[in-house]
Amino acid sequence: MPSDVETASPPASDPAAAGPPASDLGVGRPTKRRPGAAVGGLPVADPRPVFEASAVLGCRCTACRYPVAQPGIPWCPVCYSPVAPDRFAASGAVWSSTVVAIRVGPLRPPFGLAYLDLDDGPRILVRLADPAVVPIGTRLTITGTDGGDLIAAPEDSTEETS
């Protein structure tokens, strides 16, 4: 499991991020602050997909079977039919991946992110267990969560460790 999530509250500024250094900005003046615990503001409801008992939770259209990894939507966003809760496979194919080299919120670089098309399920954003770009179509399995982020690893590597 990655251990790159900080438990202490991170600072509101990120000198390692893209853009010119601005260390003196705001000194001695009133400051504004964006909401969100990750930047020192107040917490918000967690909007990330939920991983529970080896499945990604969400809902599926009862008519066209469109899958969504978000709860609480009022109807199918494709055909407007009723939706029902569903559980999606934790495995799928990578649509694209990247390695982020700047600090973002609680995450320290490098960390890998990928869009994963779950088998018969929705496209979701996952964090890569190993921060390295993987080829399009690579098979990944979600192995758990870290700080609420879904963590995914190549299928063969999860089989080796299980």
Binding site: S23, K32, R34, W95, S96, T98, R123
Partner: protein, 379 residues
């Protein structure tokens, strides 16, 4: 229907101005646009503002300094397309005869909120998972590298072109030097494959425009088309990268409205927040087939002296990207180009111009909003 015209434009300088009140950036842009349009402030009968981070009430505080109270005023937030969304509403209002002289303002002051990349929105499923905007564009870029064989050098060529253009823009934020492809690629990695010099900077600034009906002024620019679209679902069903379809939808409607083809456009300002953004946008606008947009900068097609110059201002990569101000900054550059008053940046053919602004960042949608407008000089 009334023919809407672009009467005048103005901008502030672009850069990091945390010591300035955000209103003063807006006043710089508005004062120049009012002078450029040759109107007196009392003629303005509506104000439409585009801003992402405000702050709340900024438009009213701007109004206070202008002495333009009582008239209809509202603020639009459409991510990076906020400024051009405000412009689009002005165009439609004039077309329908609702107003006769509309002030459009785009403004944002990022330096008082972020010291680097925009902190992802905590209420968004992907923002909460720490996907930064350069990461979102990097996922597009990786798809283009893997699917179409686009090279890192082709990505870098966009930055080289736009930063070279920006050297001649006295209002651009970054104009110290034009890097080589090797320098772009060896700059600090932000999100693979995007390096620092392929990312727009954090910026403050404002832009303004005056839109009204045809008043018989030969200097006014004809607004041949203005289209806004919102995002649609972006998911496992489609093969397009995020963002492509929203730009394509707006472009198709804009070309139909203007009765023009992409080949008829002389000069363009498009949304190059990151190098891959310009490549995908130009494909969606129809300047290149899918997967071939990366060839346009290396071939010189989109250079300032090329067949279809793109981002002669230096684009977001040089000028900077104060979100709400960007669309109005793009409009100003196209207006100066079409009137032949762009100085050292002037392109040779300048009768028809196009502005494209795409705002995004909401998970699972192909964009938050996209605006495409086509404007032409008279005669």
């Amino acid at each position: 229907m009334i023919q809407p015209m672009l009467w005048g434009v103005g901008t502030s300088a672009y850069g990091l101005f945390p010591e300035r009140r955000v209103e003063s950036l807006a006043w710089d842009a508005i004062a120049e646009a009012v002078r450029d349009a040759g109107v007196v402030p009392g003629q303005i009968d509506a104000i439409i503002v585009g801003s992402v981070f405000g702050p709340p009430g900024v438009a009213t505080r701007v109004q206070r300094g202008l002495g333009l109270g009582g008239i209809p005023m509202w603020t639009i937030e459409n991510a990076c397309a906020s400024g051009t969304s405000a412009y689009h509403e002005a165009v439609e209002a004039v077309r329908l005869g609702r107003f006769g002289c509309v002030l459009v303002l785009g403004v944002d002051q990022m330096s008082t909120l972020f010291s680097g990349a925009i902190v992802p929105e905590a209420t968004d499923p992907e923002g909460a998972a720490s996907l930064p905007l350069p990461g979102l564009y990097a996922l597009q870029a990786q798809r283009y590298l893997g699917q179409f064989g686009v090279t890192r050098e082709q990505l870098a060529a966009v930055a080289v072109k736009n930063k070279r253009n920006g050297l001649d823009n006295p209002r651009a934020q970054l104009r110290a030097a034009a890097p080589t492809v090797a320098e772009v690629l060896s700059s600090r990695l932000i999100a693979d494959p995007l390096t620092l010099l392929q990312c727009c900077p954090t910026s403050d600034g404002a832009g303004a425009a005056i839109v009204g009906p045809d008043r018989g002024n030969r200097d006014d620019l004809r607004i041949e088309a203005s289209v806004t679209v919102s995002g649609m679902l972006w998911d496992q069903r489609g093969s397009d990268v995020w963002g492509y379809a929203s730009v394509a939808r707006a472009a198709e409607k804009a070309f139909a409205q203007a009765g023009r083809t992409p080949a008829e456009i002389d000069v363009l300002e498009v949304h190059d927040a990151f190098t891959i953004g310009e490549i995908i946008t130009l494909e969606a606008l129809g300047l290149a087939p899918r997967g071939k947009g990366a060839e346009l900068a290396p071939s010189g097609h989109t250079a300032r002296d090329g067949a279809q110059p793109v981002n002669p201002s230096g684009g977001l990569l040089s000028r900077g990207h104060p979100l709400g101000a960007t669309g109005t900054a793009q409009l100003a550059e196209i207006a100066w180009q079409l009137r032949g008053r762009a100085g050292a940046r002037q392109v040779a053919r300048h009768r028809v111009g196009l502005v494209e602004t795409m705002g995004g960042g909401a998970a699972g949608m192909d964009g938050n909003a996209c605006v495409v407008t086509i404007v032409s000089a008279q005669g």
